[in-house]
Subunit: 198 residues, 2 copies
DNA sequence: CGGCCTTTTCAGACTTTTCTGAAAATACGG
DNA sequence: CCGTATTTTCAGAAAAGTCTGAAAAGGCCG
């Protein structure tokens, strides 16, 4: 499979971006290629040919991508070779990406912060340091709580929420003005257990 | 300045995480140190002593952090040396981080996608590739539009929005049930220009 | 200006990461 | 089982990134 200039540009761009995203060039390129091809699965040799990298490099890249759940293996009938593809739905990809990055980039920090906050602080410096850590911890908790909540929405609702944007904040004002009437309505639908209203 | 074990752990963790975040170890450590010390600014030599890295390394690290707007220089009276600190408010830090990461990690992709989508597609493969790119482009546009909207909120409101979480989606349901009454109220306050209702 | 203190630059040493080819392992049909 | 097709592993080459010390540059005050 020879890449068209169009696909080539896309693939090369993802290779470049790879470094900024903390993945390596080849991995970025493989992903880009599979993304473009989706839903058609490619086998390793097609990837080798399209990208001009070694077979072993592709093997390792595919393994890493599977570790991220960004690529899934597929078996085609009458073909012994493994084939690979990415989930087709971009919103699904977004969810996976968010989940995996959280797991790798946020969770470890959260757990270190928790641990350090448990330790007794003896000096004023340490007390100050813990106060700073507590602020960071609270922020991350708030973000991850929001994320855990939002990620459960079906895509259609997630899109609606995004489209609304800051409009939500305005709705909060409205809610305040309505002195609890919307809240009451929401409760009636069994929705408001988890949140604390103003 | 000698680091306590508590501060040490925090700093080392940020050093480690640095690689996953696409920044280097020293830069991560310098940032962690300044974050803990904030609002007290530190001079380069204090950083050198605390981290045990070379003066030149600190100089480069500080420059990078200034490029990210995560660290700002300060001049202390009666001291010719430059001092540095991070913004004290974690929400402010979050905003800066989001903005800079978007600039480096999202915007370039968005512009590549736009460019590639402008090009005429001749083959069926290219048409398919462009369709895939269009999906990705639409997703990113939606996310950045939401982000541009939300980032303008004052912190207090942003927090309220986060606390609400997926509750927003429930509010959307309520809105539907109320057959436009909330929308009308919102409009009266001049908030709903930009969004398309159901 | 000249001396002193501070910061920046940068060539190259060092470290880490990426990539490859060759060999080993695995899977599968006959 | 055997032979073939395919994938994985891995040692080391290559590339990329990080860090340092020495030297240059910058800035300030007398």
């Amino acid at each position: 499979m020879q890449l068209s200039p169009l696909a080539q540009s896309f693939v090369l761009h993802f290779g470049e971006m790879g470094s900024r995203w903390g993945i390596n060039r080849t991995v970025g390129q493989i992903y880009a290629l599979l993304y473009l091809a989706a839903p058609r699965p490619l086998c390793a040799d097609e990837i080798v040919e399209a990208l001009g990298v070694s077979r072993s490099n592709v093997s390792m890249g595919l393994r890493e991508l599977q570790g991220w759940n960004l690529v899934v293996p597929r078996h085609l009938p009458h073909d012994r070779r493994d084939h690979f593809t990415t989930p087709e739905d971009v919103w699904q990809i977004l969810r996976i990406l968010a989940e995996e990055r959280k797991k790798r980039e946020v969770d470890p920090t959260l757990s270190v912060l928790r641990e350090l906050l448990m330790q007794p602080a003896t000096t004023p410096e340490d007390r100050h340091a813990q106060a700073r850590m507590a602020e960071m911890h609270a922020l991350i908790e708030q973000l991850t709580t929001w994320y855990d909540d939002v990620k459960r929405l079906e895509t259609e609702r997630l899109v609606a929420l995004l489209r609304l944007g800051a409009g939500v904040a305005k709705m909060l004002d409205v809610k305040d003005r309505m002195k609890g009437r919307v809240v009451a309505l929401t409760r009636r639908r069994g929705a408001a257990e988890k949140k604390k209203e103003g």
